[in-house]
Symmetry: C3
Subunit: 307 residues, 3 copies
């Protein structure tokens, strides 16, 4: 059933309403992770779709990548599925709008409520992707553990992509800064930098209806030569990194010169579009943290560009 | 008495002349800190005002927040008030113009003079907030200690705000990048990130004549819903941080996309205006360092937005 | 002899072709370093010039600073000159275009070849400074050592400057953001930040034909008052830094506000033009890392501005 508030919020616009249920779970490794339970969407014309099958089954690190666009609203319900623990677990989200009771923090911090799921007691958050919130944002736990500040560094983190209402993102393509239509982006790679490990995920928009593919640690990501692909790179935990992708370069929004190595701290990020193999051709293009101790600890992967 | 050079410097413009006296002192905790002794201003029309009462009395960390605008000039005299020490102490300022004898360094570095206060021997610095120097800048000791490189990490640091001649600063308000009139900004929060602690201060422009309020460590800062408030966040010492404010987002000057978590190293900064509670309403909005070890060490506070 | 491919590549444009030979060597200190063997250039009109004499003789840290402009192509041959070692050594370059066999990595990473020099077996890389590659970039080893990830932190790093086809770079001069003609820049300072040490080099364009001058560690760099000088500051290794230059300020490309202290991680950089002593006059203007432990370890130098 669609909540009345959710319906009202997007009545006047072409916005979508998202009804999402996530679960926080423990993996056999002992790490914690979010998993997708259900994601339904109702468009402004009333059309309903069920996106649940797009997601990987079971918990993943990073957690499910949620994609909305400016104007959309969402209700996100979190279930507590961490066996053998009665500690609360939550979702705090970055970038979008939400009232204080959707902050995902404990009452000791927000003064209102323990905004977290307990065993058999889910918690629901309401988000609005208002104008100006376009970007790549983190969501993560802000409650589990002792002290109750969150277990983001144990695996409870994921990615929220708010696409701009214009559907266009500036990028450095063929040597020029141009606006790229997101409809032309066929693959998106989500890459998190946690201490000395990359954790990856792919959104593949070529497969019918799109598909999220978990890539786990230090993955090889791939594209066909000339495809426009979008990277979302973010840090988590304690370490600082510099993300480098071989033989490609990109721009930060508003910048007038390209970079190929960017400072990444916890929850700071770079999000960019490149044309795979532009001017350099196919190959296993290395990406790695340029902090040499991190790299020597194995913090690297390949961007495989094939013809 | 107003120095002739100071009077001459601003004769042809609408610039203000600032005559400031600070003192470097030791606090009972053993930390060092600057305190305001006197701040007088003469406008281009010859009107004199005494701003001394706007400041907190006694030494504070961060030190007194000095506010000037592009075009202004200042003479800043430092008194040595550190009991039981004959070591020199100084002010090195960022951002503005000054001759080499106002650099605040020791002769071993600048080749000219020991530009520092000694017991019973104050030192005077001359600054010009020339066009192009608008921004939020640090001032700090560059002389005390052994070696004589400065005791900025012992508390001897403060903030210099140079407001642009235009009186306007770009900001992300109601989802759009607009120029905000600084006259509409009622509260400014100065937040320094030192190892695992925030040190705060408020400039309150609502109180008649304005008032600087020391907030000390990991403070709650507050605003009324919808007020435009300005944050100045800077690092000091050795650690790197990522500053995050819940449920609000902002832009860096020139950027075309919002952020809510920014890399902060020693003396690097983010300075931005937000509309308190924009789209999210009232609440105790958490701010914290997103480096999880720093956060778990207590590096956090609240931005309390009330109706 | 000029390779046919190189000639073909630039036939249609005003581009220069660069034929460069470098050698990786060991220094008596045990550090490794690149040295210039030969640098010849053929212009689009067929004029040949030999730039070899512009470079320092012998290995230097950082290695030879290579300067090209958008549109240029280069063949760079690396000789293995590290006595007592049969381990491969390579050049991986940032920013420009190159096919996967010019990546400078080992076959285990790129899947194609060991793109490195072995004793008595040089390796040749082909680079294209395509439109959009203007900027200051690193080149460094990506093969030496165990594991074969590169000895960039042992000294095998250098700088590649790609000047824009327009010949102009935005800068904050006399309080305004203007486009500076690179022909008006007489000195360029290359400053690398490695752990607690600066490694410097000067490109002096005043001397007939230009000259590269190695400056080694924590150097004094110098300019005449009012000269436009260009700084290229980059990190290498593991540490994060904040680069500060006293009494000067600059802009990042696209930014609308000045800075005087910038976060620098491994291979991230700031590249900027200032007018020496603008508004502040002559003096020994200190530059240093603002991470206080780095500064206290001696990570500092002077920018000496004379009349």
């Amino acid at each position: 059933m669609w909540p009345a508030a959710l319906l009202a919020a997007s009545a006047a616009s072409a916005a979508d309403q998202h009804l999402i249920t996530l679960k926080a779970s423990a993996m056999p490794s002992g790490q914690l992770a979010y998993e997708m339970v259900s994601h339904k969407v109702k468009s402004s014309t009333g059309k309903e779709s069920d996106l649940t099958d797009r997601y990987a089954s079971g918990p993943t690190i990073p957690g499910p990548t949620l994609v909305m666009k400016e104007g959309d609203v969402a209700e996100v319900t979190l279930q507590h599925g961490i066996a053998d623990s009665a500690l609360p677990v939550s979702i705090h989200v970055h970038g979008v709008h939400f009232k204080i009771d959707s902050d995902g923090t404990m009452k000791v911090l927000n003064g209102v409520a323990d905004e977290a799921a307990f065993p058999d007691k889910p918690y629901t958050y309401k988000w609005t992707a208002a104008p100006g919130t376009a970007g790549t944002w983190a969501y993560h736990d802000h409650a589990f553990g002792n002290p109750m500040l969150g277990a983001e560094d144990k695996g409870l983190f994921g990615t929220l992509i708010i696409n701009p209402a214009s559907g266009k993102v500036p990028a450095l393509i063929d040597g020029k800064i141009v606006d790229v239509d997101l409809a032309d982006v066929k693959r998106e790679f989500i890459i998190w930098m946690h201490e000395t490990t990359f954790w990856g995920q792919e959104l593949n928009h070529i497969i019918e209806g799109g598909k999220e593919i978990p890539l786990w640690t230090n993955p090889t990501v791939g594209a066909r030569l000339g495809e426009k692909v979008r990277f979302h790179v973010m840090g988590i935990g304690t370490a600082f990194h510099t993300f480098h992708l071989h033989a490609h370069r990109w721009i930060e929004p508003g910048a007038t010169a390209g970079v190929d190595t960017v400072n990444i701290g916890p929850i700071s990020r770079t999000s960019f579009i490149v044309k795979a193999g532009e001017g350099v051709g196919p190959g296993d293009w290395h990406y790695h943290c340029h902090v040499i101790q991190h790299m020597q600890s194995g913090m690297m992967g390949d961007f495989r560009v094939i013809e």
